[in-house]
């Protein structure tokens, strides 16, 4: 692996991303959806806060009048889901387009390793996703200005979002390497991410042991703790393993091009 090569590919991909209007549309849609949910959660919380002034029993309801629990935590959950929906749109073209236009052969015959190509493209998409996530910082900043949220759980929530986004990209990159059709790539990516998202819903229907295993496999279960301010090494290792596994599979998938 050469850092210089990774840098070159990263630079090329970033230019390609940010010179395309499509990526702006994806980010705008992401911000419209998350912004709307944020406004909705905040407005509802404000109404409950007013109601609690005249209803002491309402105020006593556990967690109901805490901004971190009632606004920020569900907000991270929602941003996470929207992120999972949007990343396939960013990753679908990464390798599929190169395959379709035939430039993949050119790229693979350059004096660069497959790993340089995969890492360069992965990091470029990660930068885009980080930009998307960074733009949502407006929401907690607004809450800090208007209310009194705890700041540390916000930080851990963002750590969770970054890891979730990074995992979704690795899966998207892998599906992009399987086909030259961008729609097919995005569809497979969507399906797989939804599978990893919804798998924990089956946990109550099976035995306790299998249920725990299914919950562990679920991609959104691991952001739960971080969005409430608890950092667990198991969650971080889960995401890192997820990323490494799909990057490895992407490499193997690219490798098949050489002997097929």
């Amino acid at each position: 692996m050469s850092i210089r090569n990774v840098g070159l590919i990263l630079n090329r991909e970033l230019k390609s991303y940010f010179s395309s209007f499509t990526v702006y549309i994806v980010i705008i849609m992401f911000l419209l959806m998350t912004g709307y949910f944020f406004y909705n959660l905040t407005a509802t919380f404000s109404i409950v806060s007013y109601q609690a002034q005249s209803d002491p029993m309402l105020a006593k309801q556990y967690q109901l009048l805490n901004i971190n629990e009632t606004v920020i935590r569900p907000l991270f959950g929602t941003i996470g889901i929207i992120l999972l929906m949007m990343t396939p749109l960013l990753t679908m073209r990464l390798l599929a387009e190169e395959k379709k236009t035939g430039t993949i052969e050119l790229l693979l015959t350059f004096p660069v390793n497959d790993i340089d190509v995969v890492l360069g493209k992965y990091l470029a998409c990660l930068v885009v996703v980080l930009t998307m996530i960074l733009l949502t910082v407006t929401y907690p900043v607004l809450l800090v200005v208007l209310g009194e949220p705890e700041v540390v759980p916000i930080g851990t929530g963002y750590l969770g979002l970054v890891l979730l986004g990074a995992s979704a990209i690795s899966l998207g990159l892998f599906t992009s390497s399987l086909t030259e059709n961008q729609i097919v790539s995005a569809s497979i990516s969507f399906a797989m991410l939804f599978f990893f998202w919804l798998i924990s819903y089956s946990a109550p229907l099976v035995s306790a042991g299998l249920g725990r295993f299914l919950s562990y496999l679920s991609i959104n279960e691991h952001i739960e703790s971080m969005s409430k301010g608890v950092v667990d090494s198991t969650d971080i290792i889960y995401y890192l393993c997820f990323i490494v596994l799909f990057l490895f599979l992407t490499l193997r998938s690219l490798e098949t091009k050489r002997w097929r």
């Binding site: 406004y39 556990y62 967690q63 733009l135 209310g147 608890v230």
Partner: protein, 552 residues
Amino acid sequence: MKAKGLFAPLGLLSIFLMAAGGITYAITGEMGNLPLTLIWVGLLVLLLFFYIFFPEIREFITKRSTKYAFNTAIMSMVFLVIIGLIAGMSIKYKVRVDLTKDSRYTLSSHTVKILKSLKEDVEAIAFYRSDERTRQAMSDLLSEYSYHSPKFSFRFVDPDRDPIETAKYEVTSYRTTVLKYGDKHEIIGTESENKLTNSLLKLLSKDIKVFYFVSGHGEKSIDNKEENGYSYVKDAIERENHQVRDLLLINAEKVPEDAAVLVVSGPEADYLPAELDKITAFVKKGGRAIFMVDPSGGLPKLTSYLGGFGFELTNDLIFDKTSQVSGSNIAIPVVVQYDKNHPVTREFEQFTFFPFARSVHIKEEPAKGSFDIAKTSDKSWTVTSDIKKLTREDEEFNADKHKRGPISVVAVTAVEVNLGDTKAGDTKAGDAKAGDAKAGDAKAGDAKAGDAKAGEGQDSLKTWGKIMVTGDSDFASNKFMKAGNKDFLLNMLNWLAEEHVLISVRRKEPGLTPLLLNPVQGKIVFWLSVVIVPSLLLVAGLGVTARRRRGA
């Protein structure tokens, strides 16, 4: 070669047959004749396919690309196993940091110790509607418990969607959690570590308590299933694995030694001095008693007896306007204020109704364990308890004639034992005073919880008796023994009976951080998050595209 080509679909056919067999098995759930035949025929067809196409298969296997593909598949499998091992290790050896300001997602060391010591499975079934606001809080709490012990599992049941499961555990209200251990179970009403751990302790404990209900003075009967009976109270106590017995005090030599709590439930006739002496002897040996005294005005001996312990039982009746708002009537005051320093009411947050209640007050002295623990709303007032003297004017508050709420309806005090009566009294009196008299003090409770030498704490607690008085007995009758009233009564009885077993855990809950947006601030939130930020990006996108086009 052409003839051979005719057999080409055999491979597909074999797969189809085996898949059909598998699906039939999955649907019927039985490996009967049909799925078995399909799978066997499929295997035979596959064998035939291999036989006919053996040279081609050999050629395919020996191909360079097949070798590479096989190599890639093996490598991927090995990598998957390594990742699986790392993930497995990460579950076994983990580090967890709770970064919330008050560490509200960290269980107390006492709870963790209990969870680590679990030998058999404990299951928590939380009966919450899916849209219940506090469901998340319970889920967080139960997750913490299951995190510390693989023996602790939990699941949620929506009572509306699964009425059979709900009826099985006799759950009658939302936000109820049942803790199951073997054939025993406990019901928990709120999302609290304190409640959950104490219920767990109760389940693990083999101690069976006996609750004696005094009879012979027209008290509410535990066998009466009518509206004014106490059969529901009996059922509720027995469901918690305790025993309930009648006690004809006049015939008994003394209050039985095994009495955990003595209950006096709304007597209509007064007590004899000899009976009161027996109760005094019981309390002064560290016994616990609860007196539910209705506003009949005809129990001078009993009221004066309780007065000796500091309780003021006025001959009055409480009227409450708040009750009308909640659809009840004026003579059923609603209790909304609970003492947050007392263990019985520290976490209690439900409404309770006390029909035809009198005021019960004690001079509050936390150092002596004296508290007024439940009060009616400030919209209530007291009138005379003599129904015949009541006038229409009494139905409205009159500052000259009536006393304004909040009015206390439940009070409690601790009673020091006769030092000569017990050895423990000599040796532990000092400790006991600190520990027990401040029963309502959270700090004392925490200190007790942290005390590993539970036996010592237990001895010291036994040197103090406890008396609780309520200004009404109907609140626990079959008619009113629902939701808040039921939980409140069980809280009182459990505290009286089992304080020496229970632990006190600091309540960890997020602080109140309400957000009161004025219209302008609300608009700022909307415009900034939904309009301005996305629009800025749109402008940036259009700018880049325009520049690129100009460049092109």
